[in-house]
């Protein structure tokens, strides 16, 4: 039951994009079309979940016993970077179209604050339990993908809407994003972890 709560908390209540304002760069950058935003969501999900499992293990088995906890940020970034490289190679080989569509945003997952945010929160909230950490990551990834997909749907409509010229493009996207964020605040306080 607790795992379900963790999942819902990470996906909806504390949605990484809309409540914690992490990972805004790809959220605005690649959300113009549904297929790219879904692809980005899945790529981030893969990196998040795998990186969570690995970093949590490394933190508990290597860093803590040697009292090297202070190294956690550099180690986590190193692991994330490596995983992103693997994802990039995989996409380049198996899905060149998606690789092209994601463009620069794919290597930028390395420095995506949503990913690092999940890893750091894992240590902070679930230092003792690997399973909780992974579920938390899955929830965060689901929330990220959900936000991306919803937003790309809205931006699809926005492209055909009569937007005043000064708001056209990114500005109106920012405003819509903030409204979405307000909507997601409706979940606030449902679960306290």
């Amino acid at each position: 039951m607790e795992l379900v709560l963790i999942f819902i908390s990470a996906a909806l209540v504390n949605n990484f994009v809309l409540s914690r304002s992490l990972g805004i760069c790809p959220f605005i950058g690649v959300s113009k079309r549904l297929d790219t935003s879904l692809g980005m969501g899945l790529a981030v999900a893969f990196v998040m979940v795998l990186a969570s499992a690995i970093t949590h293990t490394v933190y508990n088995l290597i860093l803590t016993p040697l009292s090297l906890g202070y190294l956690y940020i550099i180690v986590f970034v190193l692991i994330t970077a490596c995983l992103v490289q693997v994802v990039e190679m995989y996409l380049k080989k198996n899905s060149p179209a998606l690789y092209k569509a994601l463009g620069i945003f794919l290597p930028l997952i390395t420095t995506n604050c949503a990913v690092l945010g999940v890893l750091l929160l894992n240590i902070e909230l679930f230092a003792g339990s690997l399973l909780s950490a992974v579920v938390h990551a899955v929830g965060a990834a689901a929330g990220f993908t959900l936000a991306m997909v919803l937003f790309s749907g809205i931006r699809d409509r926005l492209a055909y809407s009569p937007v005043p010229k000064i708001f056209d493009g990114i500005p109106i996207a920012m405003i819509v994003a903030s409204l979405m964020s307000v909507a997601f605040l409706g979940f606030a306080g449902m679960i306290n972890l």
Binding site: I62, L63, L66, L68, V75, L78, C82, Q85, M89
Partner: protein, 270 residues
């Protein structure tokens, strides 16, 4: 001391481990790229100017490679690149379309009438906002403010006697200048055709005579002289249809206003 050694070992170890993992993944997930395609990408200019109409040099390389673009599609590389591409692909070079920019005005300082002296910012987009569209009597002519020079990436345009002139051999045909001209004077013309109509004035013979000593007055002498029907007068302005032009030059010879000129650099040879 221990802490330092531990740090080094842990960070180094993790780095080494993931490095090895990556190189393994690199071997396993290697994408085979076609060597022909790679060598095409190598010889393209790589400035991604978009003059070919594709997203960049790599995109153009792929289009040429799959046969969806002509070998002479790259305006920057010119004839030489055309032959190199054809050589790599093992096909005949296509020789159709090199186009260079031409600024359709000959009204240099000594030829045209000035209504006032312009002393503002040296930029056509600023000069054109004044009453009458600039200091020249002719509202169609080149203002010589150099907007096109500023946008030209290849240093192909210069001001001579108050009007902008394109150096055909330096021009790569990227068309950036075409958009920059507030008078819409710049046109892309085939590099291999020699004759150009150096006037864009459409306001009738009376005004043209008043404003400029080399403006086209729409007298139709060129149209009648041309044997291949390549010159036609639209309104009060002659125009050469280059598909029909055989480059005989009779139009330039007969023009009473001397506004049909032979292009400066090209002699029609490849």
């Amino acid at each position: 001391m221990n802490a330092i050694i531990h740090t080094l070992i842990v960070l180094g170890g993790i780095g080494l481990f993931f490095g090895l993992l990556l190189s393994l993944a690199g071997i396993k997930l290697k994408t085979k790229s076609n060597p022909t395609l790679e060598s095409l990408k190598d010889i393209l200019p790589g400035v991604n100017c978009g003059g070919c109409g594709h997203a960049g040099c790599n995109a153009f390389a792929e289009e040429v490679f799959t046969g969806r673009a002509e070998t002479d599609g790259c305006p920057v590389g010119g004839t030489e690149l055309n032959y190199q591409i054809a050589n790599i692909l093992g096909v005949n070079a296509s020789l159709s379309t090199r186009k260079t920019a031409y600024i359709k005005c000959l009204g240099s300082d000594k030829h045209s009438l000035f209504l006032f002296r312009y002393q503002g910012v040296k930029d056509c987009r600023s000069a054109v906002r004044l009453v009458g569209g600039g200091s020249k009597g002719c509202t169609y002519g080149c203002l010589g403010g150099g907007s096109c020079i500023k946008v030209c990436l290849f240093d192909a345009i210069s001001i001579k006697d108050g009007i902008a002139v394109v150096d055909n051999d330096k021009c790569t045909g990227c068309t950036v200048c075409v958009k920059s001209c507030p008078k819409k004077l710049i046109e892309m013309v085939p590099y291999h055709k020699r004759f150009r109509i150096g006037c864009n004035a459409r306001d009738g013979s009376k005004n043209v005579r008043l404003n400029c000593s080399v403006g086209c007055i729409g007298c139709r002498i060129c149209e009648k002289a041309c044997k291949s029907e390549a010159v036609q007068t639209e309104g009060q302005l002659a125009r050469i249809f280059y598909e029909k032009c055989d480059g005989c030059g009779i139009c330039a010879e007969k023009c009473p206003r001397k506004c049909i000129v032979e292009s400066l650099a090209s002699n029609g040879a490849l």
